[in-house]
């Protein structure tokens, strides 16, 4: 740590931002240093972090996935439909399993759709995923007829309210997912191929990388993780509102990935960076909310953070 110059700032920007945010909160936010605050933030950040891990993989291939929030809505709308059905009433265990597995499978299919459009039909990722960005939420609302589904289902709610060793279940899930994908990115052939495709697609193709399969894969993963996140949101709230599940999640996820050091032009996939980014985004939200800043002002603040994060990153690559 020779000098505190611009380079240090961009390299450790995430950690510095986190430290600053924590200090600000300790100074101004009432009751910040309490276990309750930690629990609330862990249970809220989990969905952002899970989606951000998938987004990081997509961006590492120089793509983008705008459909994550809508896929969350589809999965989140499906789950209660299944475990509230007559079938699930008759066979509770099977019903619970189906209400977790089926939505995730449907999410994976959405990802396959995105992936095929991007990898096999050559559609730009922004446009390909824009289709689900809008129509996915529409599908979720058609499924539920736009109704709010509320429920009491201790088994399913465990996803969002359960605790292991005193910490929220979904916090552990984030840790597990991050470790698995860190391993995939850094220690497996598939991970190397993701980075190769993002680094230089033509070179990757010439060296025999199955570019199309690799690209399709990251969209499938991203959608699958979004599906899990959608289930968690529904479990936390004990209610499913297709209009609101995962709303604007794509922005949080992109921002987390970018803050965590993912380059938008691809070739890098810092998984734990994305989790750190998600923590920062969550903490910003929490800071604004806990200090009585209105939602709509928080929106504007978030927009500013995204622009700033990308801008700082532009400096890093030069």
């Amino acid at each position: 740590m020779a000098g505190f110059d611009a380079k240090t700032l961009t390299k450790h920007g995430g950690l510095i931002a986190l430290a600053v945010l924590l200090l600000i909160n300790i100074a101004i936010t009432p009751n910040f240093l309490q276990m309750q605050t930690l629990f609330v933030n862990i249970s809220q950040v989990a969905t952002i972090a899970i989606v951000a891990v998938g987004m990081t993989l997509v961006i590492a291939t120089a793509g983008i996935d705008l459909s994550v929030g809508a896929v969350m809505a589809v999965a989140g709308a499906l789950a209660p439909l299944i475990f509230l059905s007559d079938f699930a009433q008759a066979y509770p265990t099977l019903g619970l399993a189906a209400s977790i597995i089926v939505p995730i499978l449907v999410a994976l299919l959405c990802g396959l759709f995105n992936g095929v459009l991007v990898a096999y039909l050559g559609v730009q990722p922004i446009i390909a995923t824009l289709i689900f960005f809008i129509s996915g939420r529409g599908i979720a609302q058609v499924l539920t007829n736009g109704n709010l589904q509320t429920f009491t289902h201790p088994g399913f709610s465990y996803l969002g309210t359960g605790k292991i060793l005193g910490l929220p279940f979904q916090g552990w899930l984030v840790l597990l997912i991050a470790i698995v994908f860190w391993y995939i990115v850094n220690r497996t052939m598939y991970g190397r191929r993701i980075l190769a495709v993002g680094g230089n697609e033509n070179a990757a193709r010439l060296t025999g990388t199955p570019v199309r399969r690799v690209k399709t894969g990251v969209y499938v993963i991203s959608a699958g993780l979004s599906g899990i996140a959608g289930l968690i949101v529904v479990a936390i709230n004990s209610a499913s509102d297709a209009a609101r599940i995962g709303n604007l999640m794509e922005l949080d996820a992109i921002a987390s990935a970018v803050v965590g050091g993912t380059l938008l032009m691809g070739g890098k996939a810092p998984i734990f960076g994305a989790v750190l980014g998600a923590v920062i985004i969550q903490l910003v939200k929490y800071t604004l909310l806990a200090n009585g800043v209105a939602d709509e002002v928080a929106l504007i603040a978030k927009a500013g953070i995204i622009v700033l994060a990308v801008y700082v990153q532009q400096g890093r690559k030069e």
């Binding site: 983008i64 459009l117 039909l121 050559g122 559609v123 730009q124 922004i126 446009i127 390909a128 824009l130 289709i131 689900f132 960005f133 809008i134 129509s135 996915g136 939420r137 529409g138 599908i139 609302q141 058609v142 007829n145 736009g146 604007l248 794509e250 922005l251 992109i254 938008l264 209105a294 939602d295 709509e296 002002v297 928080a298 929106l299 504007i300 978030k302 927009a303 500013g304 995204i306 622009v307 990308v310 801008y311 532009q314």
Partner: protein, 331 residues
């Protein structure tokens, strides 16, 4: 894989096929509607159809220019909502103040997009996604989360509600003038040619000494201004500034532009075909409404979003074939 199929398609493109296709589809749908439904070709349906879709034509025109430079503007829907609230506050001063005011408010957000994209070199979709959030937040802040009623005593609502000869709404006349002006700008002026050149290759355009940054600033500010105009039409046509309107409108605009044959990779683009694309998408919804009315099918409002997505999907499928043929031609 230059089989018979792609070979035919190439000739089809050379004959300006896709642009023709839009017009043919448009005519077919109008004939279909006129034969199938009693009131389809009536003055009321025509004028309300044109009035409502003038907003979508306006944002599609701006989007067309942005996409031609290889960019994208995801903020248009929020800008419509934001400006509709702004002009609701301006409405007591009459349309002569509110119209320029709304367009200027839209242009201001467009200028912000241009600043992010050009000066800060932030990728267009991130920059405009951020302003989408910001404009939405702005609309909610200045409206206090309420629908803002307009002043009915001034001439403001006449713009969005009155017709010329009972059939041509004022809004579509203004949008038509805009379309013609932009057509001329694109085809006959140096800035229009620069816009097309940027889509073909930004670095090459820069090396030719063309004013790349000025042209890019022009397209984003134009798109913001077009969305501002749509916001004026929204507020005066529905009598209120609506901070929550405009969700998903960017998708309609993008679909209209693409169905009009503008390549999403930039470069080729056409103003009249974009207008036709917007009309076509509008007609799809118009005909679905009539089908709903006959009770044959029943679509809830939620289906609208699904159909928009489907429409874009079909268009993209068609275009992905077109652009691959185009790429082969270039190679």
């Amino acid at each position: 894989m230059l089989d018979q199929n792609t070979f035919d398609l190439r000739k089809y493109i050379q004959g300006n096929g896709q642009s023709m296709g839009v017009w043919i589809a448009l005519v077919v749908m109008i004939v279909f509607g006129a034969l199938r439904y009693d009131n389809f070709a009536g003055a009321y349906n025509i004028s309300s159809f044109l009035n409502y879709n003038s907003m979508f034509i306006a944002i599609a025109l701006g989007m067309c220019f942005v996409i031609m430079t290889g960019g994208i503007d995801l903020s248009v829907g929020s800008v419509v909502a934001f400006t509709s609230v702004c002009v609701a506050y301006l409405s007591p001063y009459g349309i002569q103040v509110a119209l320029p005011g709304g367009i200027l408010a839209g242009m201001a957000i467009g200028a912000l997009n241009a600043f992010f994209v050009i000066a800060m070199r932030i990728p267009p979709f991130i920059a405009t996604l951020a302003t989408m959030l910001g404009a939405k937040g702005g609309a909610l802040v200045i409206s206090g989360r309420q629908t803002i009623s307009v002043d009915w005593t001034s001439n403001f609502t006449k713009f969005g509600m009155n017709n010329v000869g009972g059939i041509l709404p004022w809004s579509i006349i203004v949008v038509a003038i805009l379309a013609v002006a932009l057509w001329i700008v694109l085809e006959k002026t140096s800035i229009g040619r620069t816009v097309e050149a940027i889509g073909g290759g930004e670095d090459a355009t820069k090396m030719m000494g063309l004013p790349v940054n000025r042209a890019k600033a022009f397209v984003y500010i134009l798109s913001g201004g077009c969305a501002g105009l749509a916001g004026v039409i929204l507020a005066s046509g529905f009598g209120a500034g609506q901070p929550l309107e405009g969700v998903g409108w960017e998708l309609s605009a993008i679909a209209s532009v693409v169905v009009g044959g503008t390549l999403l990779t930039g470069g080729l683009g056409s103003v009249p075909a974009t207008v036709a694309g917007a009309l076509l998408l509008g007609l799809v919804f118009n005909i679905l409404n009539f089908e709903n009315g006959r009770g044959v099918i029943s679509f809830s409002a939620y289906w609208q979003m699904v159909i928009r997505g489907l429409f874009l999907f079909v268009v993209i499928l068609l275009q992905s074939r077109v652009s691959r043929v185009g790429a082969k031609q270039g190679a």
